[in-house]
């Protein structure tokens, strides 16, 4: 009988627990804001007395913090809290490992980065930083780097990438470079040179002299090689250029003109167009064996091929349907499907490194747009609009697109300048890149390793 009572009590208890669990209030929140996250970036603490070439260690700490701030601000996802608002308190070192979260909370920062920089005996710099969740009073990440002082910009970009990855869940894109065509001279005698720079416009270098016309540079996924089109004499050819060695070579000798080259995601193939006897089709070349495979066979112009990140599909544009539109096919050239059906002309499709979207240029009623759509053609969104926007290229994390924009000519024939621009997937954050001369045809590198 006693056993029975115990069982009964236990079961009644269970029932009551169920009831209590059921009584918890459940609130469904489906409205929020898309404001940039407020982040405080404190200068890296360093000694004023340790001098290396180019300034004191403390100066380097401040410069690194400035570059990190610029990177995060440019992404559009973060709002860097002004240093003037900082509440300074306590010993610097205790603040480093044990920040006063209430002070940072009071100025509206939700995330804090602090750190230190010091000079090692071997002349290298030791740079360390920590990222803190101000509201949760906890450390989110912390890293330490050793580098020679001349690499301080790269270290700053690496810190930015770590912060970006920790806060967004996605790889950053700050430690990357951009190769593009630098243009100068009058319209009738334009000098076009291959140039390379960091994604923030610094460390700018010209790679070619400008004697030969160069077009459509594309980065290899290994980051050390570029493929592009160059006119050597009257013959346009696809070239390979090794950035480290400066070595340049012709990629095969084709009977017709080859253009619009692009690497496969594994870097082992180059897919391109070849015009032969008045017809353009898509070809792919194995770089090791130099074997060529023809993928499309149609009387229409097929061009601008781009692989999906898993190498299973290829997107390209073709006028086989009567107007220039975007198509997707299997990487062996089968199952060709048209995916763009909007008004106007679609061109230069580029598959996102993330795989979820295809960027393109759309021309409609005298305007150019850069847009994205899903690989099945759904969800088309236009991100930029101008007199002439063209040539989208993805940041390695698939969240930002760079393209070039040309200004219209006025009645006196002035204008026509070309510049590089970036826009993120929300379409809110559009920014111009600063280049020494006019710029077109950008190609974004993968993360430098």
């Amino acid at each position: 009988m006693r056993f029975l009572k115990i069982v009964m009590l236990a079961l009644v208890g269970l029932a009551l627990t169920l009831f209590t669990a059921n009584a918890r209030i459940v609130v469904d929140v489906n409205r929020g804001h898309a404001d940039p996250l407020p982040v405080a970036i404190a200068d890296l603490i360093g000694s004023e007395n340790d001098i290396v070439s180019g300034g004191s260690v403390r100066d380097y700490g401040q410069r690194i913090a400035l570059v990190v701030k610029a990177d995060l601000t440019r992404s559009g996802l973060f709002r860097v809290v002004d240093n003037a608002a900082f509440i300074k308190s306590g010993n610097a070192l205790t603040t480093l490992r044990n920040p006063n979260f209430n002070n940072w909370k009071a100025i509206g920062a939700q995330v804090l980065m602090n750190g230190a920089i010091s000079l090692q005996e071997d002349g290298r710099l030791k740079v360390e930083f920590r990222l803190w969740d101000v509201l949760g009073s906890s450390q989110m990440t912390g890293l330490r780097y050793f580098t020679s002082p001349k690499n301080w910009r790269r270290i700053a970009h690496l810190i930015s990438d770590s912060i970006y990855k920790r806060l967004t869940g996605e790889s950053g894109y700050f430690d990357t470079r951009v190769v593009y065509i630098s243009e100068s001279g009058v319209a009738t005698a334009r000098v076009k040179r291959l140039a390379i720079m960091d994604q923030d416009g610094h460390n700018h270098v010209f790679l070619t002299s400008g004697k030969n016309l160069v077009l459509t540079p594309r980065f290899s996924p290994t980051a050390q090689e570029i493929t592009y089109l160059s006119y050597h004499g009257d013959n346009p050819r696809v070239y390979l250029y090794n950035i480290d060695s400066g070595k340049q070579e012709i990629l095969g000798d084709f009977p017709g003109m080859t253009f619009a080259p692009r690497f496969s995601p594994d870097g082992n193939k180059v897919i391109m167009s070849q015009a032969y006897k008045g017809n353009s089709d898509i070809y792919v070349m194995e770089l090791r064996t130099r074997q060529i495979q023809r993928l499309t066979k149609h009387t229409a112009i097929d061009t601008s091929p781009s692989y999906s990140p898993d190498s299973r599909y290829v997107t390209f544009n073709s006028d086989r349907g009567g107007s220039q539109q975007i198509y997707v096919m299997d990487s062996n050239g089968k199952n060709i499907k048209r995916i763009s059906f909007g008004k106007g002309r679609y061109s230069t499709p580029v598959w996102s490194p993330r795989g979820d979207l295809i960027a393109f240029t759309r021309q409609y009623r005298g305007k150019f747009y850069i847009g994205v759509m899903r690989p099945d053609g759904s969800g088309e969104r236009l991100l930029s609009e101008s007199y002439l926007d063209e040539g989208p290229t993805w940041a390695p994390n698939g969240r930002v697109i760079m393209f070039f924009r040309q200004q219209p000519y006025d009645k006196q024939g002035r204008g026509g300048e070309t510049q590089l621009w970036t826009v993120d997937l929300t379409g809110y954050n559009e920014r111009q890149m600063i280049t020494p001369l006019d710029a077109s045809d950008p190609a974004w590198s993968p993360l430098i390793r």
Partner: protein
């Protein structure tokens, strides 16, 4: 043998009772009660708004009255506006001005104005007002005084019906609390949605919080699917979950909730779902 039958019977009865309590589908039909609720929902929203505003504005009486009658607009985040043209865009090296903040002061004044015309003011040191939905229903009832309102009519019937009214009360109070928390999180910009992440629209995050009677968080908020935060390949979920943790912490204390109903809101589960925002 006899014991076995008794145990079996008790088992069956308790399981059925548990089922009745736990599974709403087996609950007795409450249709007549539910019929009243849609009318009440409208009032609850208004009431919560009034309460939140009263609390926010009472400590600092506003001197100037603004004649604005404009209703507070919802902040629309998506879809994005057409991008600016090249000529109007700031250069990266230029010091770009931060986004103009919404005119908070004007908004507060506007709210005070609304409050003043719609509800009596309360000084902060007066006794905490108890939320009583039946009084509220009576206040908002615009019918002639001679005509007894629905709740009084129900009260007149018998004891059993009065019990149903208390159920209505609990439901109304629960809805008020839900509405107030929702509004508080939105109005105070607590939740920053992780935009642009791959598959962000599918990242619903549930968080459990426990509150003290004065609305402060007790212990750390707990993500219901917390294990997923540390799983490899779930970085997007962790980002979404961290945005939610920041939101509930930033919004604390929840001291606008009625103390009399503390038992109702002591433990809360809040589901943050960005799908509506990201898919428009």
């Amino acid at each position: 043998m006899r014991n076995a039958v008794i145990i079996s019977l008790i088992f069956h009865v308790v399981i059925m009772v548990s089922g009745m309590v736990a599974l709403p589908i087996l609950r007795p039909d409450t249709a007549p009660v539910m019929k009243i609720i849609p009318i009440e929902v409208v009032m609850i929203s208004d009431v919560t708004k009034l309460r939140a505003q009263e609390k926010k504005n009472d400590p600092e009486p506003v001197k100037k009255k603004t004649p604005k009658k404009k209703v507070q607009e919802r902040k629309v985040e998506m879809p994005p506006p057409p991008p600016k043209l090249a000529s109007t865009m700031p250069l990266p090296d230029m010091k770009t001005k931060p986004k103009p903040k919404p005119k908070k002061k004007a908004k507060e004044k506007e709210q005070v104005q609304t409050t003043a015309t719609r509800a009596p003011r309360i000084t902060p040191k007066t006794k905490p007002r108890r939320f009583n939905s039946s009084k509220l229903a009576a206040l908002l009832d615009k019918r002639e005084a001679s005509e007894p309102n629905i709740i009084e009519r129900l009260k007149d019937k018998n004891f059993a019906k009065e019990k149903i009214i208390s159920t209505i009360d609990i439901q109304q109070q629960t809805l008020s609390i839900i509405d107030a928390v929702n509004r508080h999180i939105y109005d105070n910009n607590c939740w920053n949605i992780p935009v642009g992440a791959k598959g962000a629209e599918g990242l619903m995050v549930s968080v459990q919080i426990r509150l003290s009677p004065d609305g402060k968080l007790i212990g750390a908020p707990k993500i219901v699917d917390g294990r997923r935060m540390n799983m490899p390949g779930q970085e997007f979920y962790r980002t979404a979950a961290e945005s939610v943790l920041r939101a509930v912490r930033k919004c604390a204390p929840y001291d606008f909730l009625p103390k009399a109903q503390y038992d109702l809101w002591r433990d809360m589960t809040i589901n943050f779902n960005p799908e509506y925002m990201l898919n428009g």
